[in-house]
């Protein structure tokens, strides 16, 4: 197992025997290695790509009126004089050990900030997922069951509208209604270390609801399409013509084939959730990664921007990788490749 992991993933000659005897395992390993290669490529893109873009950081760091000597000093201090590839390797070496460098703005460790804020962001995304996933799958099934009838069309039109709602519209609407007019929810949703679990939950109620509304419609439409795709295939028609009852058809014939696409839909939307969190955090003044990234972009604090960008990309890629691996596991055809 270890030799396949360290070697080239797609080399059929070197690991051919391994692929032959463990087709499923090698597929999964391939996918995981591919994920890490992708992550490495993205780290290079984020670091080197930004370096070759026009615009001198020392200049923007000091402002337009800076003297050439001051700029040279700053360049030395920030280590901008070394060649790009050297700086990339030392940055990457730090990242692997969990060290993202030091913020230009306040000279504090970026890793400490990220450690605190990533927990907050994941806490928010986790509760949004817990609410939205069962709700979306349930609604998708209802839509399929009443397909082309009034309920299905109603769900279709409402979800089409919900997809088009920007996060800030939903967010401020919820704030105006629940926090200002009715006074039942808290705004801004600040959380800090000393808060109890219950207090935290009540603080994130509104941002969580906003996130749920953002992903729910999308996830539901994709679930509906995935199940409908299977319900219109020939073997379901056969089962119907045999006279099986609706429950048996769904449980024994449709559900096993629908698992892979549904898992895929869920994981894709969880990845979207982690990204959607950026705008929602800004709306609700929630101390998470998104707020940190936006603040850093505004003042051009590059170490923080690069670190946050990499962390968001990593979460996104890992969730997509998990989706693919679960999809492989759920699809028996891939277990015995021809």
């Amino acid at each position: 197992m270890s030799n396949a992991n360290t070697g080239r993933p797609a080399g059929p000659g070197s690991v051919g025997g391994f692929i032959g005897s463990y087709p499923l395992l090698s597929l999964i390993l391939q996918r995981i290695v591919l994920g890490f290669v992708l992550l490495l490529a993205i780290s290079a893109l984020l670091f080197i790509g930004i370096e070759i873009l026009p615009g001198d950081f020392a200049q923007s760091y000091l402002g337009q009126s800076a003297t050439p000597e001051a700029i040279a000093n700053i360049r030395r201090e920030l280590g901008l004089n070394a060649p790009v590839h050297e700086r990339y390797i030392s940055w990457l070496g730090g990242v692997v050990q969990g060290d993202f460098g030091i913020s230009w703005a306040n000279k504090a460790s970026v890793s400490d900030q990220i450690g605190k804020r990533l927990g907050n962001t994941l806490f928010l995304a986790f509760w949004a997922a817990v609410v939205s996933v069962p709700l979306a799958i349930g609604l998708g099934m209802i839509a399929v069951h009443y397909r082309n009838r009034f309920i299905d069309r109603l769900i279709n039109v409402i979800s089409l509208a919900a997809i088009s709602l920007p996060e800030f519209f939903t967010g401020y609407l919820l704030i105006l209604f629940f926090a200002v007019n009715m006074g039942v929810a808290t705004f801004p949703s600040t959380v800090h270390d000393g808060m109890s679990f219950g207090d935290r939950l009540s603080a994130i109620a509104l941002p969580c609801a906003t996130l749920v509304l953002v992903v729910l419609a999308h996830m539901m439409r994709m679930t509906r399409a995935a199940i409908l795709n299977i319900m219109s295939s020939a073997y379901i028609e056969t089962a119907e013509l045999k006279g099986l009852d609706a429950f048996r058809i769904i449980a024994r014939h449709a559900a096993p084939n629908a698992i892979a696409p549904i898992i895929n839909v869920v994981a894709l939307n969880l990845a979207y959730l982690v990204v959607g969190v950026v705008v929602v955090e800004v709306i609700f003044v929630y101390p998470g990664m998104g707020q940190y990234l936006v603040d850093a972009v505004t003042i051009r604090d590059m170490p923080v921007v690069q670190a946050c960008g990499l962390v968001f990309a990593a979460v996104y890629i890992i969730l997509n990788m998990v989706a693919d691996v679960l999809g492989i596991l759920a699809n028996p055809r891939l277990r015995h490749p021809k």
Binding site: N181, V275, V305, Y316
Partner: protein, 276 residues
């Protein structure tokens, strides 16, 4: 006219919505009761006969700013989506016609760019680049063109193997002829629906960036920036921020309604099983 009659009511509503927004954007200079930057009243005045939608955080007329904002938001979004479409389609068709390592390079680069979430990508790139309008449009277009590339390549690969393309090749036509005269006309209908989706996405994306303070810079009016300007009023129960937010939503919904109809139409033309 015949086409209009065959449309379902949802698509008609969408068309009407898009028409209203376009009309108020084009004729903003004539229709708007006050200037874009003119301070004409108190801060956050409620809606009245004098100010139909009330005033904003500096006492400017909201209705006038909404109209000028429509100009900016729609104009930038159209340019960005046309640009992303041109880039995405040209490169994807080129990849499908040439194949070989050109295709490999373009496709792998596309995979790499699509693996980074769009908003994060835009934020990181905009942090490094100077804040100028053409850069913003270019960044939006490039990031969005990855989605067009993926669809365009999938469509073009199916068409490239058709007999009439083979015939054109044997006739000795060049690559550009094959891309623009053979493939493009036959790929139009799925791409048209995609253009609508890309435009709706560009409106939402631009507004999100402006809302975060990284899109269009004040005092120029644009819908996302107007939400940001008026967001502090929400705590005092002033709904001024919801008006531009609602306009963004209404425009995106209208476009989506039309796209939904287009997609259903092309699906039924292909003889799909039932209304999927």
């Amino acid at each position: 006219m015949q086409l209009l009659k065959a449309m379902p009511w949802s698509a008609r509503i969408g068309l009407l919505g898009v028409f209203i927004f376009l009309f108020s954007a084009v004729f903003a200079d004539v229709l708007a009761p006050y200037g874009e930057r003119a301070i004409v009243g108190d801060v956050w005045e409620p809606a009245s006969a004098k100010f139909l939608l009330g005033t904003d955080n500096l006492g400017r007329d909201l209705l006038s700013r909404m109209m000028y904002g429509a100009q900016t938001t729609i104009f930038i979004s159209v340019i960005a989506s046309v640009l992303s479409f041109s880039i995405g389609i040209f490169l994807s068709f080129l990849a499908a016609v040439v194949l070989g390592w050109t295709d490999q390079m373009l496709s792998r680069l596309n995979d790499l760019m699509m693996a980074i979430p769009t908003l994060i990508f835009a934020l990181v790139v905009l942090a490094a680049l100077p804040q100028e309008l053409w850069i913003l449009v270019l960044v939006m277009a490039l990031i969005d063109s990855t989605r067009v590339f993926r669809l365009g390549r999938a469509v073009a690969v199916d068409i490239v193997v058709m007999d009439f393309v083979e015939a054109a090749r044997l006739r000795g036509e060049g690559r550009m002829w094959i891309i623009f005269r053979e493939i493009l006309p036959n790929a139009m209908s799925p791409l048209l629906a995609e253009f609508g989706l890309r435009f709706a996405f560009a409106v939402l994306f631009l507004s999100s960036l402006s809302f975060l303070g990284l899109g269009i810079q004040p005092p120029e009016a644009d819908w996302g920036g107007m939400v940001k300007d008026n967001k502090d009023g929400i705590i005092f129960g002033v709904p001024a921020a919801l008006i531009p937010g609602g306009a963004i939503a209404a425009l995106a919904i209208s476009v989506n309604l039309i796209v939904d109809w287009l997609l259903n139409r092309t699906a039924s033309l292909k003889g799909g099983r039932g209304n999927v």
